[in-house]
Symmetry: C2
DNA sequence: GAGATATACAAACGATCGGTCGTTAATATA
DNA sequence: TATATTAACGACCGATCGTTTGTATATCTC
């Protein structure tokens, strides 16, 4: 027997803790998040964390892992329902916008907070977060290449270049919507990518007009 | 007499402290920055800070002010040397790229770190940083409008929309260059804005080809 | 049922946090 | 020259940081 109530309960609370950690980290970052506050938020004691993780960094690494899974399920997976090509590319962008506007995470985007926090802080967390960004950009880039292969994007497009643009225009919505002009940021972030794709697409009717 | 050695020395050390604070905050944020480490970095005692500022938040606010001045002098002012219109708009973008690639600040961009840190943290610092972002976007928007008035940008352009795109494509260079692909981020960030402007400009010869 | 294992906790650790207090020495004001 | 004022400091405050230790207890293995 490996289905044991004790370990199962451990796994459940482990997941609950990680969910809270990702949620809080989207607001105050993974370092800004303190074990004391995380304990309060989860209704446990902070010493209990050390039954699950060796130290704070291990918890942070697992939180990144959890956030990657969440992002994959909520943003990447839905986009795969759209037909490959330029429509899937825009579906990916819209899934991201929905993730933000739905308020899935109180801070908007876990990766925005954490990457800004760790881009200058060498260590395991930085490496893990860097890999997450590389994988994400790689996925966008592959969708661009596939759209080109399908003849749905101009042949002169540089996939890495366009992937950078799509990511940058999407990511900065988080900051602008919270710090500057609220809903207008979503309009700008959506339209920027949409018009860029339409301009590069031989058959713009594949995409909404606006 | 108001030119007094004592107060002058105070002003000098005040400026030196703020410069260090902005520098450190570009790496670890304005909250991540602790008074103890700032004291070590400046070779002073942390209790000395309270001769200049009432509390940490006042120091943070002055640090933002200092960073705004630095940004204005190093990025905004040089762009004004270029002729108004689309050339000035691109000169502004290039001045920003130079600010990043020259390594003026060890963390790349003070505002990127601090805005990501405070976008979800209500208070005076958030308000001040929000205003800085508003002013910066307003400046870009005015340059767009001026370029349109000069007939150097397509009449269908929405200035706020284009300002968002220019800022987003420039800002994310900081993150990508540090966390992902180094120099390639500069190429992507530069080319994205350049090609966007060229596509909207009736006379692309005003801008470099690549 | 016995013994090992694992979850979770309270209490406490040294370090560091932002901040206070009282003092010293240099300068400004009179 | 006498008197405020000021920059700057060392010592210390309570709170919180991440972490360690020891313990109680529920579950799993045998």
């Amino acid at each position: 027997m490996t289905t044991d109530g004790r370990r199962l309960r451990g796994l459940r609370s482990r997941e609950a803790i990680l969910e809270q950690a990702v949620s809080l980290a989207s607001v105050e970052g993974l370092n800004g998040l303190s074990l004391g506050r995380l304990a309060t938020a989860t209704g446990t004691s902070k010493s209990g964390f050390f039954s699950h993780w060796q130290d704070k960094e291990e918890l942070q690494l697992d939180a990144v892992e959890w956030a990657v899974r969440q992002w994959t399920e909520a943003v990447v997976a839905p986009s795969l329902l759209a037909p490959a090509g330029v429509r899937r590319l825009f579906a990916l962008h819209e899934a991201r916008l929905r993730f933000y506007s739905d308020g899935v995470l109180p801070g908007g985007c876990f990766f925005f907070s954490v990457q800004a926090e760790f881009d200058d802080r060498p260590g395991a967390v930085r490496d893990r977060v860097s890999r997450a960004l590389r994988d994400w950009l790689g996925f966008i880039r592959r969708q661009v290449s596939e759209a080109m292969a399908l003849g749905e994007l101009d042949g002169s497009v540089d996939p890495a270049q366009l992937a950078y643009e799509i990511d940058a225009l999407g990511e900065m919505i988080v900051l602008h919507s919270r710090l500057h002009d609220g809903p207008a940021a979503f309009v700008h972030g959506r339209r920027a990518v949409l018009q860029r794709l339409r301009a590069l697409c031989p058959d713009p009717s594949l995409l909404p007009e606006d």
